[in-house]
């Protein structure tokens, strides 16, 4: 279906541009010369339409599912509206100018060196608009990048350490017992947050997998062992570069869950519908990507994000994962290894 649309658009533009516009436009004067306006005009209209129609084909922002994805998306749409209106306005004027003012015998050009008043108007209005835009988004930026760190938020939140390396994400969760201790002693949670979650023997270690809980904040201590990587969670609108030699704190709070327990494994790609039943939905397969060039397998540092419906579900998973990592005999059935919780 999408291919058909692309094909249609291409062929249409080609036909119009090359078959109709051009031969006539090559004529030295007369009606044909107006046709250049059509080439530019059609191109600009197509570009506007592409942006306008892309969401209908699903070629658009992955739906945002975190507490600040709304802020980011709102800002995106505000800017889209402003720039879109500007683009449409400029395109209309531009096409009109090309249409109306091809060279004509007997019509003198407008002899004008400019118009200071007009200049002031079209400097002041965009200026004010842009300035308001700039100032208006500072709160959203600070909210995303400078979370408040206090005992209250630390006790409620989950913490995880993510170490990027060529070419995977090594993830380390504190054990359920450790989480217990945070609940009874918020100061310990804050200390761990500040001290970047020192390793413990009972930590649950995973590769290329992140687990979070709907409605609860997850703090990520982001590190890297070798080169700069960047943790990108598209649906959470999270992106943070991992810098060698530094541990950077990133966070997000999901607003929806996407994984369901089936036996002893968890499956993503599901969501709860209005009645509270789990339904399959490919838009709910959330992934982790690396967005800072890091070598051969930069495009293959793919991970999965599991957002659990409830804290209990998460802790059940955590306990199972911990138990799998403590086996002293091979598991009886073929299990896909410690921590990997299904597709």
């Amino acid at each position: 279906m999408t291919y058909a649309i692309i094909a249609l658009l291409t062929v249409a533009t080609l036909i119009y541009g090359l078959y109709v516009v051009f031969p006539a436009a090559l004529k030295p004067s007369g009606k044909g010369v107006k046709r250049w306006a059509y080439l530019f005009g059609i191109t600009l209209i197509t570009e506007i339409l592409v942006f306008a129609l892309a969401p209908l084909f699903g070629w658009w922002l992955p739906p945002g599912r975190s507490t600040y994805s709304g802020d980011i998306d709102l800002l995106f749409y505000v800017i889209l509206a402003v720039t879109g209106a500007t683009f449409i306005g400029v395109s209309i004027v531009y096409t009109y100018v090309l249409f109306k003012y091809p060279s004509q015998e007997g019509r003198p050009s407008l002899y004008s060196h400019g118009n200071i008043k007009l200049e002031m108007v079209w400097t002041a209005i965009p200026g004010v608009l842009l300035f308001l835009l700039a100032i208006g988004q500072i709160p959203a930026w600070l909210k995303v990048k400078m979370p408040t760190l206090d005992e209250g938020s630390a006790a409620q939140a989950l913490q995880v350490e993510v170490v990027g390396r060529q070419w995977e994400w090594r993830v380390r969760y504190p054990s359920s017992e450790h989480l217990e201790r945070w609940r009874s002693d918020p100061r310990a949670a804050l200390t761990d947050l500040r001290r970047k979650l020192a390793p413990q023997p009972d930590d649950v270690r995973l590769v290329n997998e992140l687990h979070a809980v709907k409605g609860e904040r997850l703090f990520i201590h982001l590190r890297t062992m070798d080169v700069i990587h960047s943790l990108f969670l598209p649906q959470m609108r999270l992106k943070q570069d991992a810098l060698p030699g530094k541990t950077i704190l990133a966070w997000f709070e999901p607003t929806e869950a996407n994984c369901q327990r089936v036996g002893d494994t968890w499956h993503t790609g599901v969501r709860k519908d209005a009645k509270g039943n789990w339904v399959e939905d490919p838009l709910y397969k959330w992934e982790i990507a690396c967005t800072e060039f890091c070598g051969s397998r930069h495009s293959l540092m793919r991970g999965k994000l599991f957002v659990h419906e409830t804290r209990e579900d998460f802790e059940a998973w955590l306990k199972l994962a911990a138990a799998r990592q403590r086996v002293t005999a091979p598991p009886t059935e073929a299990k896909p290894g410690a921590g990997a919780a299904g597709q």
């Binding site: 291919y3 692309i6 094909a7 291409t10 062929v11 080609l14 036909i15 090359l18 078959y19 051009f22 031969p23 090559l26 030295p28 004067s29 060279s103 004509q104 015998e105 007997g106 019509r107 003198p108 050009s109 060529q166 070419w167 995977e168 090594r170 390793p199 413990q200 023997p201 270690r205 590769v207 290329n208 997998e209 051969s296 397998r297 293959l300 540092m301 793919r302 991970g303 999965k304 799998r324 990592q325 403590r326 086996v327 002293t328 005999a329 091979p330 073929a334 896909p336 290894g337 410690a338 990997a340 597709q343």
Partner: protein, 452 residues
């Protein structure tokens, strides 16, 4: 107002403007461009194949073969990116001072060169043909050992049927080829530039196995390979492939086994031919007692049987440790483990200073390894207690980590099977606590062990 349409080029092209006839009719040009674009577009959107070229063949082995169980010597330094230590035998001067021991090993016959065999007209051609009969080509892989019942078992139990292998070939080409190379030699374009280097499957030796077969015959179970693929190998460039669909995972495991069987058959046949040629020195043409194709098939059968045997030979611990949920017992076990570890004839021999000061050494694939720094909290073969148990019990073949000391009545730690088992679990406890400063402190306090 004159002159608005003034400049020359706006008029008709003058007759004498020398322009190619091809451009006299621009609309014709542009129509042809549009047509070409349309054709390109249609072809392009159809897409291309993601499998190997059907014409592509597995190349014959031409690199050095290591003909010994271990290689002596101490590397001068770690090999630089882009070069393998064995390349010193090809004259790479940058490696002088780094892997000089290989020069001696070659002179002693421990490293042999297959090129005289494979570059000679009839032997090389026959070997290629025999391997093609055995293993097919990258696009159409197979394992055919010329024994129907064995072939059937391979297809069923080891999943080496054609369909799985073909799918595995596609998965391998997409995910593994650029490191592990076309025939599994670990010398793909990226493989030379990572360290530790990717595994060379052609030797048939794998490090992280859990089968209880004899050391010289041990093969991994499909489960072992699956675990490696799922977890990756920490501390190396082998990433986790847990996100592969399960069918793709199964297929690529089959394909790796296929590459390994093919490579082992090739290597063993070449070793035999080189040995025979060496023994009947001076003869210009080899008198083959056995045809090459038979040799290849028999080596493949041996390897295949070992792979099949591994499937049912997983090592189960004879007993279970008692310290799992008991901190005091764990510390006691760790203390005993520490004592065994630091015995002068045991682990510290190689894991100097618990691995912090361990020296480089050569492994069976001609690359360099270092005994693991056990305080660094990085483990290639998995970090579950059972994984530690398997590594200690079975050793890590190829890297120089020996299997655990056998029963010896004179040694209290291993005087009988039960004591041996207990000692192993004690060492496991020690390893588990070693990387964590708080636990080292507890061990110090409880048992007077000074670890830092």
């Amino acid at each position: 107002m004159k002159g608005s349409v003034g400049f020359r080029s706006d008029r008709e092209t003058p007759e004498n403007q020398p322009v190619s006839r091809w451009f006299q009719s621009p609309s014709r040009v542009l129509r042809r461009v549009a047509l070409a674009w349309g054709v390109l577009f249609t072809i392009g959107m159809v897409g291309c194949d993601e499998a190997y070229d059907p014409e592509l063949l597995y190349p014959i082995r031409r690199d050095w073969i290591i003909n010994a169980e271990s290689l002596e010597g101490t590397p001068g330094n770690i090999n630089p990116p882009g070069l393998l230590p064995l390349q010193i035998l090809d004259g790479r001067k940058e490696l002088l001072g780094i892997s000089n021991d290989f020069l001696k090993a070659r002179d002693d016959g421990k490293i042999v060169d297959p090129r005289p065999i494979v570059d000679s007209s009839n032997l090389g051609v026959e070997l290629m043909r025999a391997l093609r009969d055995l293993a097919g080509r990258p696009r159409f892989p197979k394992i055919d050992v010329d024994d129907d019942s064995l072939n059937e078992r391979l297809a069923k139990e080891l999943k080496l049927d054609r369909k799985t292998l073909e799918r595995g070939s596609v998965v391998y080409r997409r995910n593994c080829l650029h490191c592990h190379g076309l025939n599994g030699d670990g010398k793909g374009p990226t493989g030379l530039w990572v360290n530790p280097h990717p595994r060379d499957f052609r030797s048939g030796i794998f490090k992280y196995v859990s089968s209880s077969q004899d050391e010289g015959k041990r093969k991994p179970l499909r489960e072992d390979l699956r675990r490696t693929l799922t977890n990756g190998i920490e501390g190396t460039s082998m990433p986790s492939f847990a996100l592969l669909p399960p069918e793709d995972m199964d297929a690529v495991i089959s394909y790796v086994i296929h590459l390994s069987i093919r490579g082992e058959a090739e290597m063993e046949t070449l070793k035999e031919l080189i040995l025979e040629r060496g023994q009947s020195a001076g003869a210009a043409e080899e008198v083959e007692q056995t045809p090459i194709v038979e040799r290849v098939r028999s080596k493949a059968r041996t390897a295949a049987e070992r792979w099949l045997e591994a499937l049912t030979s997983q090592l189960m611990p004879a007993s279970q440790p008692d310290y799992e949920n008991d901190e005091a017992k764990m510390l006691e076990a760790a203390a005993r483990g520490y004592k065994f570890f630091t015995r002068s004839d045991q682990c510290v021999q190689c894991h100097t200073n618990f691995g912090r000061d361990a020296d480089l050494r050569y492994d069976m694939w001609g690359t360099m390894v270092r005994p693991r720094n056990l305080t660094a909290n990085i483990y290639g073969g998995g970090r579950r207690p059972i994984d530690f148990y398997w590594r200690i019990h079975l050793g890590i073949r190829g890297s120089g980590m020996p299997s655990f000391a056998p029963v010896n009545e004179k040694d209290p730690a291993v005087k009988d099977a039960e004591a041996r088992e207990k000692t192993m679990w004690d060492v496991v406890a020690f390893i588990r606590l070693l990387p964590y400063p708080e636990w080292r402190a507890k061990l110090s306090k409880a048992h007077g062990i000074f670890l830092d």
